[in-house]
């Protein structure tokens, strides 16, 4: 669990040197040394495990290890260090061998480089990373859940199954998610839509919190989430892993299988995930119809020619079906008010069920991507990405006369991407990157619904060009960039007049973005980075043409065809301090000013319909500001006891109307204490435990008090505190090893509701939950 704050890279590993002694068949030695890249000091307590002979040793105070009397043959050596992902090395042992490994072992939030591969580093942008180990150790979570405890990150939820990330107050159309380097397409506009990504297919989830991520398309106004698999390990044998977990709350099972094999002809990786959950339970009652079924599969292929041309292909399919709390399905304002009066939601039943009935969602997302990367020289790379996505979403409501089986919303969206980037390093530490990205989107409603679509059919074509330049002078690194985007939207709307008419719109938008960033290593232990950026985002189709009742929101939403692009200036200042390996501190302040911020404004009009009165919301523009502070610190209390604290503060204001912005994340404080054992514990002659970790964590979420009573139907829920615990360990058997974890969330079974969870109007959030997980690598 603690591992999430770390990432480790083993670089430059292995300088094989050989003694010239001709060894006997079983008289070979393997020895070496592990060194910390940052400090150049030896690393002790690194576990070195020789898989084929089932021998394990730990490095000594000087970082050294030694295996004696090993037979000639093929071996896999696994290096594992607390909090790090395992590093596996394959050797063909013929003689005495020396292996030197350099291990970069740094606290993530203090790092400036995101590991994306050979030369792609994001640099000078505040960022956070979640690594594979965290993904495996939280394998009952969806993508959003994995990043929930990171500073500056919150979740908008609709019940337990649907969640989307909010980074520094921005979400939906304002936050870009790149899955495998491709902007995730889908219906970003809905707060009741999760990103359709299987986190198990990823090895790294990175959150960029800089002023402007110039290199990424998608109308982002600052933050970007990158979800990426790592390259297939250069390892000639078939390897894989199996992850399984069972969660008590919802009686849910998660199964993930990953297989991979490298060959110079073609390297491949296959990743499959299955999930099934039934009704979740709050502290007091079942949340009926909150089950989930999911089946995902991905295939990754890699091939390279002469270390110059690298081609990879990635295809994935994501399919899920999820239920929405039955008692959260209401029609008009009066229903909503009646629902607020209930201590237990309507339709609550005393029995658990795996059944998923209307209201529910069926979502599928297919992605196919081809990437070619060509190193024309050591210092220049050209990269081409072609991708296609197919997103299909069906939402089912409770309807009359058997129509519950007909979706009330049925959208399919096809997207094509074509990206080209060129990067070059020049002399004097100058580097440049330029690129062009094109996205074509075709969004179509299926008329089978028998309901006028909320979002019209449309085509959109986007093309963006960017250039970034960076230079390093001694302790200072500069980066600046410029981006231009063109978007053409062709929307075909249906009016709800009598008779109905088809109205076409053709819009063209041009946006420019600019960035300047500077990072100074003030001392060896302190880094200061400043980031300033201007970005623009044109109104999306939902903001322009929404028209009608948004089911589940109990409101009539109306777009405004007159909306202009919004623009934002964001400044961030980050300070990182790493005085010793036992203490680190990181503070990030940010301020973002929006001109013409597009938002849903509640109108004075209450519209009378045959179903009663509905509040009307219109997309309007105002000037707004969002500012906040993210702090995280980590301290080693003793060699085996480590503490962590994270605090996020955020405030959003509508400057023109002089009132708070709605739906802004409340402040939160997260703390954890982890106890780790060093070395291994022998349970029996054949079974050994190591890297045993016991973690207690606590998350306190403040009440959102920066909001006026008339801005919501009910007051924001009270502050809450959730206590969690987790025990994890590696278990070694003679010929294999696996990892086990047991965790408990909301141990005290606290009854609470979260401000950003729309289900809070109807029901409590989920109560205590125990998860047991197993990870086996082979």
């Amino acid at each position: 669990m603690f591992s999430k704050y770390f990432y480790c890279i083993f670089v430059l590993s292995c300088i094989f040197s050989s003694a010239s002694i001709v060894a006997q068949d079983c008289n070979v030695t393997i020895q070496g040394r592990v060194i910390d890249e940052a400090s150049q000091l030896p690393l002790s307590y690194v576990n070195v495990y020789l898989q084929e002979s089932s021998q394990g040793v730990a490095t000594d105070d000087e970082g050294r290890f030694l295996f004696n009397n090993i037979c000639i043959g093929h071996y896999h050596i696994i290096f594992s260090h607390i909090g790090c992902e395992d590093y596996k090395l394959h050797i063909d042992l013929e003689k005495d061998t020396v292996i030197d490994v350099t291990l970069l072992h740094t606290e993530t939030s203090l790092s400036t480089v995101v590991i994306q591969g050979h030369k792609d580093n994001v640099g000078t942008q505040p960022n956070l990373t979640v690594n594979r180990k965290k993904i495996e150790d939280s394998n009952n979570q969806n993508l959003s859940g994995l990043i929930e405890n990171e500073t500056g990150v919150h979740l908008i939820k609709n019940g337990s199954g649907i969640s989307k990330p909010v980074v520094q107050g921005l979400y939906g159309n304002r936050l870009t998610i790149l899955n495998n380097g491709v902007p995730q397409s889908g219906q970003q506009w809905g707060n009741d839509h999760s990103p359709e990504i299987d986190p198990f297919a990823a090895d790294n989830i990175t959150i960029l919190k800089g002023a402007s991520a110039i290199e990424y398309s998608g109308g982002n106004l600052g933050s970007v989430i990158l979800v990426e698999p790592k390259r297939i390990t250069r390892e000639p044998h078939l390897h894989g892993q199996v992850n399984y977990s069972f969660e008590s709350n919802g009686r849910g099972s998660n199964l993930n299988v990953r297989l991979e094999k490298f060959s110079s002809k073609l390297a491949w990786r296959l990743n499959g995930t299955l999930r099934k959950y039934g009704d979740r339970r709050s502290s007091d009652y079942y949340l009926n119809n909150t089950g989930l079924e999911e089946a995902n599969l991905s295939l990754q292929l890699e091939k390279s020619w002469n270390d110059k041309l690298f081609v990879d292909f990635y295809a994935s399919t994501f399919n899920n079906k999820l239920g929405i709390l039955r008692g959260a399905h209401v029609a008009n304002l009066m229903d909503l008010e009646q629902a607020f009066q209930q201590t237990v939601p309507f339709y609550t039943e005393s029995d658990f069920s795996y059944g998923i009935d209307a209201p529910k969602q069926h979502v599928s997302h297919q992605l196919a991507k081809l990437k070619a990367k060509y190193y024309s020289s050591e210092k220049s790379v050209i990269e081409l990405v072609l991708a296609g996505q197919l997103n299909s979403r069906q939402e089912f409501d409770i309807r009359r006369s058997g129509r519950s089986d007909i979706p009330a919303l049925s959208l399919s969206q096809t997207t094509f991407n074509a990206d080209l980037t060129y990067s070059k390093e020049f002399a004097d530490n100058w580097s440049m990157k330029l690129g062009n990205q094109n996205i074509f989107t075709d969004n179509t409603n299926d008329p089978e619904t028998g309901i006028l679509p909320l979002i019209p059919d449309y085509f959109s074509f986007e093309s963006g060009f960017f250039i970034t330049l960076s230079k390093k002078i001694n302790r200072t690194q500069f980066k600046s960039g410029f981006r231009y985007d063109y978007e053409n939207q062709k929307a075909v709307t249906i009016t709800n007049s009598v008779p109905k008419e088809i109205v076409r719109y053709d819009n063209q938008f041009q946006n420019v973005s600019g960035l300047f960033a500077i990072e100074v290593n003030v001392t060896d232990q302190q880094t200061l980075s400043f980031n300033t950026g201007l970005s623009m985002r044109n109104p999306e189709v939902n903001e322009l043409y929404s028209n009608g009742l948004h089911q589940g929101v109990s409101g009539i939403e109306e777009g405004d065809v007159q909306l202009k692009s919004e623009s934002a200036i964001k400044n961030t200042l980050e300070y990182k301090w790493l005085p010793s390996s036992s203490f680190s501190f990181n503070a990030l302040v940010y301020h973002q000013y929006f001109n013409d911020y597009i938002y849903l404004s509640p109108q004075e009009e209450i519209r009378l319909t045959i179903r009663g009165a509905f509040p009307v919301f219109k997309y309007e523009q105002t000037n707004a500001s969002i500012y906040g502070l993210d702090i995280s610190t980590q301290f080693t209390l003793s060699n085996s006891l480590i503490g962590q604290l994270k605090y996020s503060y955020l405030r959003g204001d509508d400057l023109q109307n002089n009132m708070p912005l709605v739906f802004m994340p409340p402040n939160s404080l997260f703390g954890s204490v982890t106890y780790r054992t060093h070395g291994s514990m022998e349970i029996s002659p054949r079974v050994t435990l190591d890297e045993l970790e016991v973690e207690f964590n606590n998350r306190y979420v403040f009440q959102q008090s920066h909001i006026l009573p008339e801005q919501d139907f009910v007051a924001p829920p009270a502050a809450y505190n959730l206590l969690g615990m987790k025990v994890s360990t590696n278990v070694f058997f003679p010929s294999y090893k696996f990892r086990v974890f047991v965790k408990a969330d909301n141990i005290l079974n606290v009854k609470y509701r979260d401000y950003l969870n729309r289900q809070r109007y109807f029901a409590d959030d989920i109560g205590v939950s125990y998860t047991f997980g197993l990870n086996l690598k082979f």
């Binding site: 209401v330 309807r399 009359r400 062009n436 179509t444 679509p453 085509f459 093309s463 007049s497 045959i610």
Partner: protein, 186 residues
Amino acid sequence: MTKNFLTLTVFLFFSMVFIACEKDDPIIPNEEELITTVNYTLSPANGGNDIVLSFVDLDGDGGSDPIITGGTLAANQLYTGRLDLLNEAESPAESITEEIVEEDEDHQFFFESTVNGMSISYTDQDANGNPVGLNTSIMTGGAATGSIKVILKHEPNKNADGVSDGDDTNAGGETDIQVIFPIDVQ
């Protein structure tokens, strides 16, 4: 190198432009579920002309205001009430009442009157012996003005406290109809 890059860029850009032609006209969905019209026909028990209270909103949730027709009833008179729901956006108009009759266990009308001395009671039942409300009887009191609110709930809990007596507080369910008719009793 840079030249190749530019050529490729231009190629990509134009290949995308050519894809972006016009989007086909969408098929306008057939909103067969829509309820545009509620007619509440009140027939005096001792003969005389029917009074029809109506609420018509042809554009559904759209912007035009609904047309509401109230009625004038005689004092101290018994009426039988019959509700008819129509989808007049279709032609010929489609009866939604039939769908309600087919699924009467999942539907219930609720009536709230602010007219002094008026009482409304159910005169029909579903298969489980619970009220539906398509048929009612209305007894007026003395001269008064006020309104009758008619609510149709889909999937209410008819067994919850007070629901079969016409109180929707514990009913749950979605509101399919909620209309108010102005009433004058003379």
